[in-house]
Each structure stands twice: as structure tokens, then as C-alpha cells.
Symmetry: C2
Subunit: 560 residues, 2 copies
């Protein structure tokens, strides 16, 4: 590690996660303002809501600022394998091209993503052991083992000549996490004794009093509730919570049921977990096809789809559209999961569908069959007691979480606090922490084959098309500017009372187009551009009159 020169600064730049729970992308810069070197910590996605941005499944943080700094990025360091921390890697790596570092389980899932994007041979991926260390230029990085809701959750102690940053990643304090070690309190205390300049910390559950609870409690409860079920039982949980998956598998064994995995990501994570030596004590699982023949009382389905995702296993089962699995009156669904804000309506839709069939529901509302993976307030307090940072930098939250976390840190007497927004360039040292610049920050959409800006023309057009429909007119003109064929109208997405009404409307548009053309021709401007502009204007007006809608209008002028 080099020594600090008088001009050196240590800066923190969140480009995702400071203003939302998902889509984490953090950068740390070191050096004089005109020649910083960077590391990136995590590079995740958030999921498009089909309703808000139709046709867009994945949303990425916009790394434009770091793209310009590409030559100075020393590495992309991953804390854990949740999609909001690794999901953008394969999409954004071509823009950043830095080596990648991760622990074994995370690396196994990253490799799959790279393979899907044909990047496996291009991306240098270094697998670090738990508690491993990594020196990247001025950054000496130590992985510290925490507990969370996925195997191998790590915080990073990032040592620099200007001080140590404790980047928590996602964490909780689980006294019995079932998979993986306990929170490495000794390392945290040792780190704190060195002096922690800044703690960049998870804010997800800052509004939750008390503690988050333990996976061990869930395991016990899950077994108990399933033992009380007759008929078929389906459990839904986040596939990435391998301890939870193991709990469901063990509960199946304990209650005389054979576990059956349902849904692609359940199979994917189950495989990744086995590949790093996890799930050794769990019973073997069967596939859907095999489960069909079993006595209802002898099977337990472990399903994806706890958030009501319409294409996931559980929604298809609820709609009665699943190929191999159907649930009936007397069967039970256990939601070993939470309701992610924004998914309430979809999840309640699932509940309603099952209730209508007479299928019983067991949810975290009434039974302790789920615990969060993020720290509640007592755990946050404990972490501040351990780390004793000079500066509190809350991330991984909407603005309301971040500001509440700032209030909590002040209560806990942390000397400095800062509430970051994405794109805030924050100087952590030297001097008091301060936002010294704002850089471009935003979102990108994965739209079909390409990555585009959220306000790109195609997306804007699709929103308009989706709400207002489209009108297209084609006409052929000869050399004398006379119509020789058309106008031919194509109308899409505009509602009429019936066929007849629709035909009348289309005829009216045809007459409108003809009239607009005639008027234009008299005025003797009839280049393509003028014809198009005039017809578009006239057709827009007509559509608004006929349909009370403002469709996208296009005109094709064919010249003979």
C-alpha cells in the first residue's frame, strides 16, 4: 500500500443503491482528483415491472462515469451472489473490462451468467477464499464473514492510506445461520481497533425495530407447520436462500415427504450450492414429472414465485396452468418469504386464487416461517458498537431509509453522517465527509438485444403505442404528385364498439388523408416531407375526434 501524498483523496461514489433497495453499484476512488484509481464493489440489477416498462425485464445502473474511467479501474469486487449485487456484471462488463473477484459460491453463479453471455473466456475471475485478502493498488481489501440470506455473505474492510472503509454489503446478525459461519465478530473488533474512517452500510430494514431473527427458528417452525398439513404441500421461498431451501428439504424428510424442486432458479441454485459442497445432509430431490405419481401426502413441492411473478411456478399452479402440478381443496401453500414492496397486488392475487380453490395458506403474517436477511435496528446498533466509524454512509435503501438511517447513526453519536444519492461523489478523506461533485447516474434498460437509456426513443414510442395505439397511412404518388394508390390505413390498438363502427372510422381516416393531400397539392408543396407532415397532422386530429385517443401516426409515401 502506497503512502498518501498531500493531494490524495479517498472518495465514494454510489451509482446504484443510494435511492433504491435494488441495483447496487458502488465505486471507491483514490488519488488526486485528476488521477484517481478505482475499485467497484458489486454490480447488480433491479427487475423491471412488466406494467411500468413493458418489454423490459432487467434494469441496470448506468456506469457512464466509470466507463470513462475504465483504464483506472483495478477490479470489480463482489460481496455476495444476490442478483442486485451481481446481476449486471455480464451486461456491463464489456463497458468496464476490469478483473472480477468473488468467493466460491458467488463465483459459481457469476460463471453461469458469464457463460450465458458468451463472456466466460473473456472475464478474468479470481476466486478468493472466505476471509481472503486482496491488494488492488492503494486498496488493501479484506473479506470479513457476515450472515445474510445467501451463502457466503461478506463485508469488505477496505484499507487505504487515508483510512479504512468498512463496506458491509448485505448482512444481519444471525445467531444460528445453519449454513456458513457466524458473524466474524473477532475480525470486526480487530478492525475497529485500527479505527474505522467510514462505514457504508445496509439500510433496508432501518424502519424495523428489534432483530431480524434466525434461520434456525424458521427451520424448526417450517417442520412443525408442514407436519400439521394433510394433502399436498407447496413451499415457496427465494431459491438463493440455500439455508432455507435446506430447511424445506429437511422438513420434507422429517414429515415423510419427498421433496420436489419446481422452477428454473430453484434447480439452478440447488446445483450451484451442491457444486461448492453445500446441501450434503439434505435428502435427494425428485423432478416434477416423477412427483405426479406420488401420494399427495408423500410429496413436498419447493417452488419459485413467492413474489407472484406471473410466469413463475407458483403463479402457474395457482392459475391451474402447470404441466405437472395442481393443488386442490385441502392442500397447503407455505409462503416462506416476505412481500417485497411493490409486489403486494400480485402476491394478494396469488392468495386469492388459492383461497378460491380451498387451498390453505400459511404466511409470515401469521406464522414465523420467514426471517429477513437484513439488519433490524438493534442489529444496526450492534454493528455501530462494533465498528465505531467516524462517518456513517447509509446505502441500500430508498431516500426514506437512508435518511432514517442517518437519524439512527446520529442518535448513536456517530460524529459524521452523510445521506448519499446515486451519482454523489463523496470525499471521505481528508477533511470532513462532503459531496464534492455530482456525476451522471441513472438507469439502463435491457431491451431485447440491446442496452438502452430509459428515455430512449424506442421506449418512449412503446409507452405511447401501449396507451394510445397506432395509425399508419400508406399512399403511392406518381411523378405528377397525383395519388395512384391508397391511402391505405392500418389502425391498431384503437377500440370501437363493433366491426361496422371500426370500418366507418377507417373510412373517415381515409377521407381525412385524401382531403389533407388535396389541400396540400393545391398549395403546390408536395415533397415527401410535406406530404407526411400534413397527413400526420390531419390524421392525429381525426383520431382524437373519433377515438378520444392520441395514437402514434406514421405515413409512408411511395413514389413511382
Amino acid at each position: 500500500m502506497k503512502r498518501a501524498s498531500p493531494a490524495d483523496e479517498l472518495v465514494f461514489l454510489p451509482l446504484g443503491g443510494a435511492g433504491e433497495i435494488g441495483m447496487n453499484l458502488n465505486a471507491y476512488g483514490y488519488g488526486p482528483p485528476d488521477a484517481r484509481t478505482w475499485i467497484i464493489v458489486d454490480i447488480g440489477v433491479t427487475f423491471g415491472r412488466e406494467e411500468q416498462t413493458p418489454g423490459v425485464d432487467l434494469i441496470l445502473p448506468d456506469p457512464a462515469y466509470l466507463e470513462d474511467e475504465r483504464d483506472n479501474i483495478l477490479g470489480i469486487v463482489l460481496t455476495h451472489a444476490h442478483e442486485d449485487h451481481i446481476g449486471a456484471l455480464a451486461w456491463l462488463w464489456p463497458k468496464l473490462r476490469a478483473p472480477v473477484y468473488a468467493t466460491p459460491f458467488t463465483a459459481a453463479l457469476v460463471r453461469e451468467k458469464l457463460r450465458e453471455q458468451n463472456l466466460l473466456d473473456k472475464v478474468p475471475l479470481t476466486v478468493l477464499p472466505l476471509k481472503g485478502k486482496l491488494a488492488l493498488g492503494p486498496f488493501d481489501i479484506e473479506y470479513i464473514t457476515l450472515t445474510h440470506s445467501i451463502p457466503e455473505p461478506n463485508g469488505l474492510a477496505i484499507r487505504t492510506p487515508l483510512g479504512l472503509v468498512w463496506h458491509t454489503g448485505d448482512w444481519k446478525i444471525d445467531p444460528d445461520p445453519l449454513i456458513g459461519e457466524l458473524t466474524d465478530e473477532a475480525s470486526l473488533r480487530a478492525m475497529a481497533d485500527e479505527g474505522v474512517l467510514a462505514m457504508v452500510c445496509d439500510s433496508t430494514n432501518v424502519f424495523v425495530e428489534g432483530t431480524s431473527g434466525s434461520e434456525a427458528d424458521v427451520r424448526e417452525k417450517l417442520t412443525k407447520v408442514i407436519a400439521g398439513c394433510t394433502g399436498r404441500v407447496a413451499v415457496t421461498a427465494f431459491a438463493s436462500n440455500v439455508a432455507r431451501v435446506e430447511s424445506a428439504l429437511l422438513a420434507a424428510r422429517a414429515t415423510g415427504r419427498t421433496p420436489c424442486l419446481v422452477g428454473r432458479s430453484m434447480l439452478r441454485i440447488h446445483g450451484a450450492a451442491q457444486s461448492v459442497g453445500l446441501l450434503k445432509d439434505a435428502p435427494p430431490v425428485i423432478m416434477e414429472e416423477e412427483a405426479a405419481g406420488l401420494d399427495p401426502e408423500k410429496v413436498l413441492f419447493l417452488c419459485t414465485g413467492s413474489q407472484g411473478e406471473p410466469r413463475a411456478a407458483l403463479s402457474r399452479i395457482a392459475r391451474g396452468e402447470h404441466r405437472h402440478i395442481s393443488l386442490r381443496a385441502g392442500d397447503t401453500v407455505v409462503f416462506s418469504s416476505r412481500v417485497i414492496p411493490g409486489n403486494e397486488a400480485a402476491i394478494h392475487g396469488l392468495y386469492n386464487a388459492f383461497i378460491e380453490k380451498g387451498v390453505g395458506l400459511i404466511t409470515a403474517d401469521d406464522h414465523p416461517v420467514h426471517v429477513s436477511g437484513h439488519p433490524a435496528r438493534d442489529e444496526l446498533r450492534q454493528m455501530y458498537r462494533w465498528a465505531r466509524p467516524r462517518i456513517a454512509v447509509p446505502v441500500h435503501g430508498e431516500q426514506r431509509h437512508i435518511h432514517e438511517h442517518v437519524r439512527l447513526a446520529r442518535e448513536l453519536q456517530v460524529p459524521e453522517t452523510i445521506a448519499p444519492k446515486n451519482g454523489d461523489l463523496i470525499r471521505l478523506a481528508p477533511g470532513p465527509a462532503a459531496v464534492i461533485d455530482e456525476v451522471p447516474a441513472g438507469r439502463l434498460y435491457v431491451d431485447g438485444a440491446v442496452i438502452v437509456e430509459t428515455e430512449g426513443e424506442a421506449i418512449r414510442d412503446r409507452k405511447r403505442l401501449g396507451a394510445e395505439g397506432s395509425v399508419h397511412a400508406a399512399l403511392a404518388l406518381n411523378g405528377k404528385n397525383a395519388i395512384v394508390a391508397g391511402p391505405h390505413l392500418t389502425v391498431r390498438g384503437l377500440s370501437c364498439v363493433d366491426e361496422e363502427d371500426f370500418d366507418i372510422a377507417v373510412s373517415e381516416l381515409e377521407r381525412t388523408a385524401e382531403a389533407a393531400f388535396a389541400k396540400l397539392n393545391h398549395g403546390e408543396r408536395s415533397d415527401d416531407e410535406a406530404v407526411e407532415a400534413s397527413l400526420v397532422r390531419a390524421l392525429r386530429k381525426a383520431a382524437e375526434r373519433v377515438w378520444k385517443k392520441r395514437p402514434l401516426v406514421d405515413v409512408s409515401v411511395l413514389r413511382l
Copy 2:
């Protein structure tokens, strides 16, 4: 009231509200199965979520079954003026054409709606007094005063030769509702002494223990929290809760602030309330334009938009886009409202926007500044004690509410319960309650100028256009089936990396269209239909290859 003949039946038919909280439409039928006469109780809307059905603001219950029974409908009886109980009247009345009955405040708001749809002169609207009575064929209807979150909430005691149905409408037990009388316990007890055959009852808050609380408590608290505010204060509440509006106006006066109404529905309801003699003791209000000049400490804005509706006043203020009102650090917004399920993300977005500006928030999460208008479990228990029905028929809820309400009614020893779905034709008498038929039930969309079915072609096309974009090809053919102009391609809503890429893609589609046409021409089938079908097929494939999208593809063939 006629006597029952041996063939007569009393039936209940929910077409909205039995499966959702909004969109209530209930019908009661009396007579032999082949010759029933009907009354309709309430006829409301639900609101389209812009994201789910773009371009659709209003969703109506489908009254198809009742449309066929139009000649036998004796009246449309309205319980109260909430949109989910009266909002569909002006849209569906032309299909039903029955006389309408309402109490004065409800009638005032109904009149406005009829005026907007040019129906005021056509719809026979009878204004009944509170506690009024109404005889419609075999139905003797008595309005019974309840309490809720809008002036003039009424339940209906519907007497028939086969028994009395107690239709609660929306209600709570507010010991001090501020506007209007207390729950008319005496009438309820008297009704119960006659014997109640069935109670058709609000299920909204069946998952909430205890009681809903009183408007009077909110009034006191609202004054207290506003007294503690410096700077500007904005309060948001449902405009239709006139008692709440009055509370905000009185709190303004008590804290030395002039109240200013912001948002169209605030003005509309304020006017309607005054027109029936309400709000007499409230201070006068000023308009936005006048408020701009006032000292920040001397004004209180009462705003629409508590649900985060993007076009409502509060969202525009949060985005800094409101013409007259802006809020800054040190100002306060009081959310005197609840979070309607499904609106979480929008409302949290509002919170975040204000927090980022440094505007303080006071919400029902931390302060008792809101009470629900619907009965919690203790109030439901009280109503069952009062009414002592033989049959419990829960409505006004999703399936999960309705089934929970059935469980509660059983606990309370109600002899019969039934969990209805929209479209269930339920025989209440004679004999045990039972679903004897299922009739068509569904939703209609107000789409621009017309009312359409939810799965209509236009709506389906718009969903596809919104997610996948569109491709249109136009070409002109001469008599010999040779292309004389085009193909001209119009591509909308499909993302490319840049302009150049887009041009390459369009050229590829042009070549695809030419090739498809050439192939077809060799095969000597070249009528318009064949040309269209072949080009559509080829262009779809090409688009999927280029964009990984499945756009709507149309082809215009112009013939010379």
C-alpha cells in the same frame, strides 16, 4: 308488498365487489326463476393502474346479465357517494335505464357525473331523505343511517315477502363522526327484532383487530401536529371525507393558517358539501393563486394525491412541477390517509421525493392522523350482535377477505355463511342459501370514447405494441405483380444501439420483404392476402433475429 307464491325465490347477485374491494355492483332478484324483478344496489368503478392497462383510466363491472333483464329492473339504489359505489352509473345507465335513488349529498355528486355525460335530462333521479323509505315492487327498502368516511352513508334494510336482507354498504362504528348522525342503533335493533334473513356486509378490514377509531380523534391530532409545524404545511386526504376536510380547515384556523384547496376533486367535493349545507362552520378557503403571496407560516394547503397518483396535485408538487406551490426544506406534508394496497410503490416514491428536498413527513405510520372508514373485527362482531342474521354474505373484499369474514361469522355462530364470487347467483330463500347458477361477470374498460371488453382486440394489440413495438411495410404493385415502389419500412418502439445500427436493421427488413415477395412471385400466388401473409411472416422472423423482440407486423399492399 305482495305475498310470496310457492314458486318465488329471493336471490342475490354480486357482479362487482365479491372478489375485489372496489367496483361494487349488487343485484337482488325476486320472483319465480323465469320471471324475476330486480333492484340494483350501487354501481361503482375501480381505477385502472396506468401500468397494467395503459390508456385505461376507468374499469367498470360488466352488467351483461342485467342488461338482458333490463325491463325487469325496478331501480338503482345508491348507498353512498364513493366512486366504487356510484362511479359507473353514468357509463352503464344507458345499458340499464332504470330510475335512480339516492340521498341528497350522493345525489349532488351523481348529478355532476350525469351532467358530464350529457345524461342529466335522461336519468330519473329521486332524492330520498336520510332514513327514507322506498317501495319497488316486492322490495320495501329502508335507508338506515350508518357512519363511514363520507357524508350520508346508508345501509339498506330490504324487506321482501321471503325475508329481510340487511345490506350494510360501507360502514364503521364511529362514536363521533363529526358530520352526520351516529349509527342508527335503534333502527338496527328494531330491524333485528323483525328477524334478518341475510346480512350482506363489508369485508374490507376483516383482517384488522379491534376498532377503526373516530374522526374526532383525528381532528384533535391533526390540529396538534400542525401546531407543531413551522414553514408551509400541506395536508393530503381523500376529498370525499368531508369530516376530514373540515378537520383540516378547522386545524388551519386554530393554527393561524389560511386554508387553500389544491386539486380538482378537492374543489368539487367542497362545493358539493356546501350545496347540501355542510362545512358551515369551516373557515373560507382561498385558491392556489392567492396562496402564493402568503407568508409560509400562514397557509395550509389541502391537497389531492394521497395515493401518489402521478397527475394529482401532491405528485406535481413533489416533482417541483406545480404552477403555484412549491415545498422546501423545513416544510411539512401530512398524509391524513392510508396506503391503498397496490399503491405502495407510488406513495413511497412521493415520500422519497419530499425527504430528498428536506420536507418533513407526518404519516399514519407514526401519528394517529388517519382512521379507516371500514369496520375492524370488533365492529363486525358488534354488527352481527345487532343484526343477528340467519345468513352471512360477506362482500366488498378480495377472496381472502371474504373467506376470512366467513370464518369470523362462523365463530359468531351465524347459522349459515356463503362466500360469493362475482357472477354467483345466490338463492337466499326459500331453503338454505346456495349458489344456484353462475352468470357472466367480468370487467369492462373505458377506453377513450367507448366501453370495451378487457380482452378486446384493441387492448390486446396495445399490450403487444407496448412490450414489443411495431413494424410496418408498405409496397406498391402493378398489374403484373411487380414491385413498382417500396417496400417502405416503418419501425417503432424497437431499440438499437445507435442511428447507424437502426438504418442497418431497417435495410435488412427491406431486403427480407423483397426476398419474401420474390419467393412468393415465383410460386405464382400473389393476391394481396398471400403477399401480406408472407411478408408478415418473414418480417416477424427477421425482427426476432435482429431485436430479440416480437413486434406487431403489418403490411400495406397498394395496387396500381
